[in-house]
Subunit: 363 residues, 2 copies
């Protein structure tokens, strides 16, 4: 089967590494020069919305998927007219706009922080009155890793927030102190079969995910699965979906955001699960049955941001499985990760700590 992927970064690369053992062949539509997915497939070096590039991608592919959530919806739709594309374009439409996304959560009875759409300074002032402070002003579209966000703590911050970020279309969200962020990776096949990975606890620094640790038998697993399942069904989804939640510490989860693709907080599944999120995404997209999402044992994922330990250092660390993407180091850039595995959680913590000690303290 020939698979086309919009995007040629590390997620595309890892999708191909998971799909190649099924005899799949990969083509990436990716304008970047040093695309790290080009090691594992054919690259069409054109813009994501280039008509000739899209035609070539469709001609070379039996089915198309994507590895980033900012694929223009009209591009996905133009592919859909020619080839199957999964996840469906509707998933992009919902995920690309924080207001539509949170409104969809509400519709599906997925708990969510109070929020309002805001497109002008007077609307912002009014929304602060309704929602209260502290609150976070976020662009409705295109923000990631903490970009395009402003925390409003007091009324005096309102003008500053507006002048820093605006004018734009925003969502104002009540800030809710939470105990931890967890994410649930769900996967749905073309026939509607579903499977869920154990929820993972995510640790961020400077707005970037650093460590993700799946928790077997987490008390909030059932709630996270229920919410993720509603989303998968609402979107008639096919593939792996990442769903981030805030755990308020009182038994409640708030839906934060979805990613209609494989997700950084599920990278531990390559060695940690019997079937990884990448393999399951490819199984779903290719119309196959889903694989076993259960854990093989305690594991965690440590991201390499800006820089990474050398392969030589990593090879000397028991239970450390490197995934270096072949990208050149650059500040705040994700250039690799490692899955850390161990026989028990104490050994796991020790191994994670030893690995983290090799990473820069600030980045």
């Amino acid at each position: 089967m020939n698979v086309g992927i919009l995007g040629g970064g590390q997620l595309g690369r890892m999708l191909a590494l998971a799909g190649l053992p099924f005899g799949m062949h990969f083509t990436f539509l990716e304008p970047a020069d040093a695309a790290c997915a080009a090691d594992v497939g054919h690259q069409i070096k054109r813009a994501y919305d280039d008509p000739d590039g899209l035609t070539e991608l469709c001609e070379l592919s039996d089915v198309v998927t994507y590895e980033f959530e900012n694929v223009p919806v009209h591009v996905a739709q133009s592919i859909q007219a020619r080839r199957s594309i999964f996840p469906p374009p509707e998933a992009l439409r919902v995920a690309q706009d924080r207001f539509i996304e949170k409104s969809t959560f509400k519709e599906l009875d997925i708990d969510v922080t109070p929020f309002a759409a805001v497109s002008s300074l007077p609307e912002l002032t009014a929304a602060v009155g309704t929602i209260g402070l502290p609150a976070i002003l976020k662009t409705r579209r295109m923000g990631y890793d903490g970009k395009g966000q402003f925390m409003i703590r007091t009324a005096a911050d309102i003008d500053n927030a507006w002048s820093t970020l605006g004018p734009n279309d925003f969502i104002l969200e009540a800030f809710v102190p939470f105990k931890r962020e967890i994410s649930c990776l769900g996967v749905r096949s073309r026939t509607g079969e579903m499977a869920f990975y154990p929820v993972a606890e995510n640790q961020h620094r400077a707005g970037i995910l650093r460590i993700s640790t799946p928790r077997a038998n987490d008390p909030l697993q059932a709630q996270a699965e229920t919410f993720t399942q509603r989303m998968l069904e609402r979107l008639d989804y096919v593939g792996t979906l990442g769903f981030e939640f805030f755990d308020l510490g009182d038994g409640r989860l708030l839906g934060n955001e979805i990613a209609p693709r494989v997700h950084n907080s599920g990278h531990w599944s390559i060695e940690g699960s019997r079937c990884s999120q990448f393999e399951n995404h490819m199984r779903a997209v290719a119309g196959l049955k889903l694989g076993d999402t259960s854990l093989r044992g305690p594991c965690a994922m440590v991201n390499f941001i800006s820089t990474a330990p050398s392969a030589a250092e990593l090879s000397g660390m028991p239970g450390v499985h490197p995934h270096l993407y072949g990208k050149s180091p650059r500040p705040r850039r994700k250039i690799g990760h490692a899955t850390v595995t161990a026989n028990d959680s104490a050994m796991l913590q020790q191994r994670v700590d030893r690995l983290v000690a090799l990473l820069p303290k600030q980045d």
Copy 2:
């Protein structure tokens, strides 16, 4: 690191799949048109001994390895003059000639069936007199999967054997009834660090390996490791080496043959071990430390010969991990395998049986 590989078949493909997560890039020197390794690296489409091809391979590579044992020794030596090549050419010299191979076993006190070099009909007749019957006449070089062999049961077969196979340089080996064939995969790093996989029990049909099952705590593990270690050290070996033995059933192992490369009887290590034979070969060749060769749990490898179940069928079988090489089906051709995993050996046997039931009974 840029790695050059002589050969572009499934072993090269799986070596690359194991090396890519370390950020390695791959170039294959392979004359075949539809080389299945070309999905995961750059292919130089020239003969293995083509001077321009070899020069290009060296220019594109920091280190060179190979995926088949019939690389001409002079080719490996010509690479060695320009780039590091592992395993060392000496391993090729020994493995390519059954007489040198068995003589080396003898030198190293590795038990071996009685054998003699034979280059003429009178020499064959004399050797039969010394060694006795039944005995197997084999070409010294280039035989594989049962080709170039003749079983001499009675003196009346001698002329027939000679006229069928000869003239050529042969080895005559006393036929020894054995209980089972096992293989030991050993790996040695550039610094001399060594690691061994659990021995695997191999089942053949029509001269081709069909099923390979690693045995945790096999009573002959220590003996197999000792013999494999002697070979690794004698050859100043770097990489993964496959060593096939006959288990005579009385506590003795006879050395049958070595393969100076990753080996079909170790393919279960992709999912079955913490670090696969492919990853460990790449770690060794790249000068890294070795990974953990221990089993994750019960597992086996089932080869797909001539034909393979579809990805759809395979995806519906619990514990079955497909590895389809992207090769077109052809009689007696290895086109894929599956690792079968399970929680216990009864479940493993059931899953293997279910998979084998999908395969042709004759091929």
